[in-house]
Amino acid sequence: MSDASLPAPPRFRQIGLPGYVGLLVVGALVVSSLAATAPTMDKLARGLTRLFAPSGLFTQMFPPDFSRIGPISWKLLETLQMAVAGCFLGLIFALPFAILATDRLSPHPLVRTVARAVIALFRTVPDLVWAIIFIIIVGLGPAAGVLAIMVDKIGFAGRFFAEAMEETDPGPQDALRAIGASRLGIIGSAVLPACLPSFTATSLFALEKSVRGSAALGLVGAGGIGVDLKVAFDLFNYDEALAIILMLLALVIAVEQGSGWIRRKLI
């Protein structure tokens, strides 16, 4: 031990004037935002009371009405099919975009910048907005939903595919380049095999995201169960709406459990 014991260090680091100003700005932002947009207490209380009134949403929802379980099941299947089709197409197109977006594999910095911009755009614009755009292009129905899911998935998987490829060990790729292998050869024989576990995990996440997303797409008319959900709400058939929500929940949980199981098998 040293002769003189050192005094304990201060608990908090001094943050200085810029730090205090920063805290003040963040605080003001939170308070003003809450005041401007959050519901007031009495508004919330009144709403809750109405929810449980004899004609209220909650009261009307129970018991759930499964009388149209047949047609609803078919629409649920259509929702799943939209998710699978859109996800599949999205993953297929995400791969080339991702390759073009990486530092190491892109043929030209300009190509890389463009690919990154496209991925960022596809990821940033919400899938509901894509659905509205595609409804204008291909009309109401599942096709618009599939395209919306596809674009959303190019953005989602494109980003994670690219990250996985950037993170792989460059050694094997450099070794193949040094023997004169082509870019495509390096991708096919060194990059893809190394990325396979990560690509699979990303693809499964993309499928889960697609299933959750495809349910909402019907709300704007892009096919699937969301259409029925909207109609049920519009016609005040709250008990049928609850039945749809419960079946949707079952589907999402089933897909998540299945994909989680596959992911665990892969690790």
Binding site: G171, P172, D174, A175, L176, A178, I179, G180, A181, S182, L184, G185, G188, S189, A190, P193, A194, L196
Partner: protein
């Protein structure tokens, strides 16, 4: 870059032979710092040459400059009858296919089988999915790869995943991949560095066997005095960016080589 075109004295005291590698006035600077400052030497074919030098003396840089994995600042390299500095990107790829490189790290694709990794060596002359994985490879490619694996004593581990092999086995698979390239010249950068003494010795014996039995030319960077003396016909010592020592191995004594091995000098 100007490459020498005339035959050069390839070995002290020998008659004139067409050198398999001639380096003239090679310099390389990183950010203005001269690492190589005028390297001159020429090698006769069918020999094993050891390149020695202290840490950071530029051995790896010199090796990479020979095949332009690092672009030399100035100077000429004539290798396998090619003026390396003058090659177009396409011709450079074809030239690199003729030069096998063994790295300190094996640089194999870990998730693939030994056989698939060896087949990757064929990318020096073939392209497409048929040389990405053993499952898609034509019969004669697989047979040749098996022969390469047999050459390094690993034919029985053909379908073992590379990440299940030991360090020495992996390095031997890397040598098999290099053989699959059908190289005429072998460059090796401390192929024994990450291996235990016994395994390192076996790898060096394997490389020397390729010189003695197949007539290949070998330039090997070595960091072990005993390997330098046991596995080379000629020794080049790099110091201050130049060839500071050049002698046939039988004439070398451990004492005069010691200054090129910092860890031995320190002892």
């Amino acid at each position: 870059m100007n490459a020498p075109v005339l035959p050069v004295r390839a070995e002290a005291g020998s008659t004139l032979v067409e050198p398999v590698l001639a380096v003239q006035g090679l310099t390389k600077a990183f950010a203005g710092t001269g690492i190589l400052r005028g390297v001159d030497f020429a090698l006769a074919p069918g020999q094993s040459t050891a390149l020695i030098g202290a840490n950071g003396s530029g051995k790896s840089t010199l090796l990479r400059c020979l095949v332009r994995l690092v672009e030399p600042t100035s100077g000429g390299v004539l290798m396998l009858g090619q003026d390396v500095g003058a090659l177009s990107p396409r011709a450079l790829r074809r030239f690199r296919a003729r030069v096998g490189i063994v790295w300190q790290k094996h640089n194999l694709v870990p998730r693939l089988s030994a056989l698939s990794n060896v087949i990757h060596g064929a990318q020096a002359r073939m392209s497409g999915p048929r040389v990405w994985t053993q499952a898609l490879a034509p019969a004669q490619v697989r047979a040749e790869a098996m022969a390469c694996l047999a050459r390094v004593g690993l034919a029985d581990r053909a379908l073992a995943r590379v990440d299940s092999l030991s360090g020495g086995q992996s390095q031997r698979v890397a040598i098999a991949r290099m053989l699959m390239q059908r190289p005429e010249f072998i460059l090796a950068d401390e192929p024994d560095a990450s291996l235990d003494p016994q395994t390192g010795q076996e790898v060096m014996e394997l490389l020397l066997g390729l010189v003695r039995q197949d007539g290949l030319s070998l330039l090997v960077i070595s960091h072990r005095l005993e390997h330098t003396l046991a596995f080379s016909d000629r020794i080049l010592g790099l110091a201050q960016g130049r060839i500071a020592l050049d002698m046939p191995t039988p004439a070398a004594s451990a004492g005069e080589l010691r200054r090129f091995f910092d860890h031995e000098a320190a002892a």
